[in-house]
Symmetry: C2
Subunit: 372 residues, 2 copies
């Protein structure tokens, strides 16, 4: 039996220049033929979720009431959200839970009692009705915590490797590499034999990745950064950047250094620069400033936006099936996530909790437990 209503975390951008995040009791619809009713047991707070929940609002200036936060937006921050003004949007890209009811199809009915991971959105909720197609049935015995983050980070890490192979790249440079995703990428690239240069911003992040066995870690805060980066690029042949940052000088520095390595390898002078291809995919915006590309990178380069959905679409059904099968197989090893804290859904808008997870800091990832 399914409940008539359920508790949902929503975000609304308001024309007065604020974001209202709220826990709301909302009706739970009956499942259609091929839909499942899930009791959500665990859902991670990813950077992309915070982009929807609070966007650029100032939570340090917010007003807190039980189950409700109002945080002010700058005029520019408000303008960026003009397309969603007034809309009450459920939050939470992914999560895992147990199927407690299902639509009439035998395929749906067969899944009652099973634990599934889903990537359907609106997962910061006690219950959620989702199509079967948005679910991955977890191996028997998998915990909700282990299955909660089976989509965004694992498929992104696999997507980087598949993208590299699709374009014929030789190796990856990853920025903000100490993130949960970055740690996953270290394990995946080691397993797949893909050369990987990890760029971090602090010595302790470098230590963390070296502790995971990363062979090439360079720290952009080090005085030796330029020389270390060049040496790592020469040692690995890495020619493809996956950049979480966007703004600031780092991406340009990496591409310039790749070009220097390419020119040195080519020997003869060409005023158009090296003909060795350099690629960068910008998949995040930890720095929301403009992407800046210096002109000492020659003419043989590609810089692109990178987004999981369109990338998986472009990679095609065969590669997609390979990727999801791989996630299921290695969920608790290569693709394991770690969390700083677990929090019940009822406490997710408490002032101290919001302040901590909204720092979006490396190693400060939260897991929401909606059944507690």
């Amino acid at each position: 039996m399914q409940p008539q209503t359920t508790l949902v975390l929503t975000s609304q951008a308001h024309e007065d220049g604020k974001i209202i995040a709220a826990l709301t009791e909302m009706p739970l619809p009956e499942p259609a033929e091929n839909e499942l009713v899930i009791a959500v047991e665990a859902a991670p707070i990813n950077p992309s979720d915070l982009g929807l929940l609070f966007s650029s609002a100032r939570v340090d200036q917010a007003t807190f009431a039980p189950g409700r936060v109002e945080a002010p937006l700058s005029p520019a921050g408000l303008a960026a959200l003009s397309g969603r003004l007034g809309e009450v949007m459920p939050v939470g890209n992914e999560g895992a839970g147990t199927v407690i009811a299902a639509g009439s199809s035998p395929r749906a009915q067969a899944l009652i009692g099973r634990r599934v991971a889903t990537f359907a959105g609106g997962m910061y909720a006690r219950h959620r009705v989702v199509p079967i197609e948005a679910c991955m049935v977890l191996p028997e015995g998998t915990s909700a915590q282990d299955g909660a983050a089976a989509f965004v980070n694992p498929l992104t890490a696999l997507g980087f490797v598949e993208t590299l192979r699709a374009v014929g790249g030789k190796g990856i440079v990853h920025t903000a590499a100490a993130s949960n995703l970055g740690q996953m990428l270290v394990r995946l690239c080691a397993a797949e034999g893909v050369p990987l240069v990890n760029v971090v911003r602090k010595p302790e992040q470098a230590d963390l990745l070296r502790g995971l066995g990363a062979a090439h870690v360079v720290d952009s805060s080090s005085p030796d950064f330029a020389a270390d980066l060049r040496q790592a690029l020469e040692a690995t042949g890495a020619d493809t950047v996956f950049d979480a940052i966007g703004g600031g000088p780092l991406l340009g520095t990496i591409l310039s250094t790749m070009e220097q390595v390419g020119r040195a390898a080519a020997g003869a002078y060409s005023r158009y620069g090296s003909t060795a291809k350099k690629r960068a995919y910008v998949y995040g915006m930890l720095d929301t400033g403009p992407i800046t590309l210096p002109r000492d990178i020659g003419f043989v380069w590609d810089v692109s936006g990178w987004l999981l959905g369109p990338t998986m679409e472009a990679l095609g059904p065969e590669v997609r099936a390979r990727m999801t099968a791989r996630v299921g197989q290695d969920l608790t090893t290569l693709f394991a996530s770690s969390y700083k804290a677990q929090v019940p859904l009822s406490r997710v808008l408490d002032a101290d909790v919001v302040a901590d997870y909204n720092r979006r800091a490396t190693g400060a990832k939260y897991l929401i437990l909606p059944q507690e």
Copy 2:
């Protein structure tokens, strides 16, 4: 009979921080089996030639002697040329002339007396020995003036259209569109039915292009630029920029406007922006500042360097053959170039001449006539 020596225009970057351009009498080698000896009759001064001849040197501070110019380089300008220091480099990417002698192969011998266009470099010379493969045999009766610029601009214009087709783009936005290349592109796109938005920087340039029949011309100096650009993008569906400029805000503005058009067409809000692909190819550096991409362009975009040689290589032999055949066919119509002035090789380093062509201004293109 071929001469033993010939007059050649060369450029040398000197470690003292200057560029030395000089007319030098140099030995003319015997042709190998499949080489031709050409009496060069006409060679255009393209922006890419000026990049080699003077680079960023200050010709307004140069010292002029007969057949010799020394122009100072800034420290940054010198550093950018570190790979060519001391090397005496012949200048002149392309030109046309008559075959006056040839190597021993029947294929080479058969071309004696014919007029050819070549893209072999070093064409600012009385004579030049080049491989047959670097030549296009001009139709009988073609003048050297008509054949002089048969490669760089025609193949670049065709390369834009072929690139657009290879990536499945819907239409072109061209910046610095009043250039010789831009005028050619107006004619080519009209003939090929390719939607084209021309972006210029002055009202008189807009008038020039409208006079050629260009349907969509927007002037970035106009107060209505933003609205005009948006309207032109909506009218044409143009999604692929070919940018001659690089630095400055224009490229970012075009991509942002494409994104706004894409979002308006999509209707529903997505915080990752429009899924309509936006592409830009940066093929020049009229502004040598960094390329700057604002972050209001979503995540579905590609920005690449574009260089004729690697592009033709990537397009493959079939497309390359189609392109060169097309140039031969339409040399005096679609692919006609116009010149502000013609100048003998002996006068190409005169102070007033250098000052005029090195402005690199629209409508100030020179043609060198080495036999006069």
